[in-house]
């Protein structure tokens, strides 16, 4: 099992969700986050005052899948979230030790 964390542009969320549904991903956790990478922030000017905004809004999508599905998930996310411009985000893959379905107490891959 792997946890796939994708940091994407907020307006790409719907496309990513659709792409993941099409390859059989049945669940995901979505969080609105802020941060910066190479895109850096931007400046806002209010009359005479200029402020640098370091943290840009992004969406973090977390998906746990079986090992077999990992390459397809990565491919789907990258394809759906890509604009080709700086700030498209990143995908991280992290090993998962255990998964438990709370309702039935199922363990392991069948609980994913």
């Amino acid at each position: 099992m792997k946890l796939i964390i994708a940091i994407i542009k907020p307006f790409k969320l719907e496309e990513v969700k659709t792409a993941l549904s099409e390859i059989g991903v049945e669940g995901m956790t979505v969080t609105e986050v802020k941060g910066f990478g190479r895109q850096k922030g931007h400046t806002e000017i209010y009359r005479g005052s200029e402020y640098t905004v370091d943290f840009l809004p992004k969406v973090k999508v977390e998906i746990v899948v079986t090992d077999a599905l990992v390459p397809k998930v990565i491919e789907a996310v990258v394809k759906a979230a890509k604009t080709g411009k700086i700030g498209d985000g990143k995908v991280f893959v992290v090993p998962v030790e255990e998964t438990v379905r709370i309702r039935t107490d199922e363990r392991g891959e069948s609980a994913v």
């Binding site: 000017i45 209010y46 009359r47 005479g48």
Partner: protein, 513 residues
Amino acid sequence: MKLVHGTDFADSGPVPIKLTLPKTCRIAACAILAFFATFSARAEEPAAMPPPPAPTLEQRVAGLEAYLNNADPTGALKDKAGNIPAGLTTASVGVAGPGHNAWMMTSAALVLFMTLPGLALFYGGLVRRKNVLSVLAQCLGISGLVTILWWSFGYSLVFGKSFGSSLLGGSEFFFLNGVTSAPNTDYAYWVSHNVFAMYQLMFAIITPGLIVGAIAERMKFTSIMLFVVLWMFVVYFPLAHMVWGVNGFMNGVWNSAAGIKAIDFAGGTVVHMSSGWSALILCLILGKRIGFGKEKMAPHSMVLCMVGTGMLWVGWYGFNAGSAVGADGIAANAFTTTTLAAATAAFVWGLIELIFRKHASILGFCSGAVGGLVVITPAAGFVNSTGAVIIGVFAAVVPYIFVTKVKAKFGYDDALDTFGVHAVGGTLGALLTGFLATHDANANLGTNLKDVVGHTLWLEQLKAIGLTLSLSVLATVILAYIVKAVIGLRPTAEVERMGLDINEHGEEGYVES
């Protein structure tokens, strides 16, 4: 201001007005008897005096025509020497005209709407979210406080004349004594005296409300209230009397004996200069917000700010067109010039930003609209539509330079740009009025000022600017240090960091639930 000069009918007003103000029940009873004795056609008293002369049909019609022209209803009753025969009157004398009165009540409500909630939202949106309620509380607090001051002493000190002074009014209207629904013909032939008093109250409310912008996010609520009490007595009441009082020192239009023959239609000096310059001084004495220049202090809601701006613009029709004190042609002209100046300035400010910064911002449009409204204020009833568009262009360019370049250069923390927009705009408007005022827009400029308008009026305006500026600055320095010595000006650093809302008012603007 639409004033009425050369008449003294307020002193010899219609009998029922005085008789409705008995000091005791006994006097009241006598007054009621006197009322019926005087006015009842059926009174069967022994005829000690001959019956009052009846007005002719022509005189009665002339009284009604005066209503249409917002003119003196007693004009046709006067004999060749200018006196009214004893007892001669018509039904149109001593009563408010419905149309003019309706417009002035509407205007009063519109001007209140500028503060509650217009200014409150305009400023409230520009502060950080932890301080939004403090601004609303200050606007509400000032509205209540100034109303009480106005009722007790303020109105009389501005629009009375018993002191016989060009600098301060009188005591005859303390506690609104004698301020009834009958017109005070010193100021309007057709508007109820109490409506006039309430209309002018709304100006007295918004003026200290404007100061709040410069000192936002870092002054104690109690200190602001104390400062406002002192400031109203030392700055606003004298200044408003000088500019608008019938015998005021700077009332060039109606007071032929005015020391400075300046004009100010709706309050460029009284409202915007006084508040704006005082705001600058107060913000300098107060000091900068903690973290100013280092931390982000961006507006927390440009949406609220824009909503407030729209309310200010709409309310300003009451402010400017209402300052004609009647629904007449001068009001119509002021309505037009107000629209043109505000719209022009809003567009030009946005355009300047688009050219120099690549973005036309919401705050830019809002600042331009307010700037245009401020600068047209002293001129609204005195200039024509071309003058208004010229004013609109200046109203964008000059305040833009002040809030972006001058403020950055000197580094003062005029938090919401009260100085940059209101002081600079009010001063600019007072001066431009001197150049652009014309007889064509307002026939009242053709009497006391006929030799001045179009020639040296701008010099008179400069004198008025100098006096207003000096009074505002000097008084604010003294009053601010008095308040500082008595109760202090600033909250603790911890309170300022956490926000004024939760600490000073025990509430939060936005509660997560």
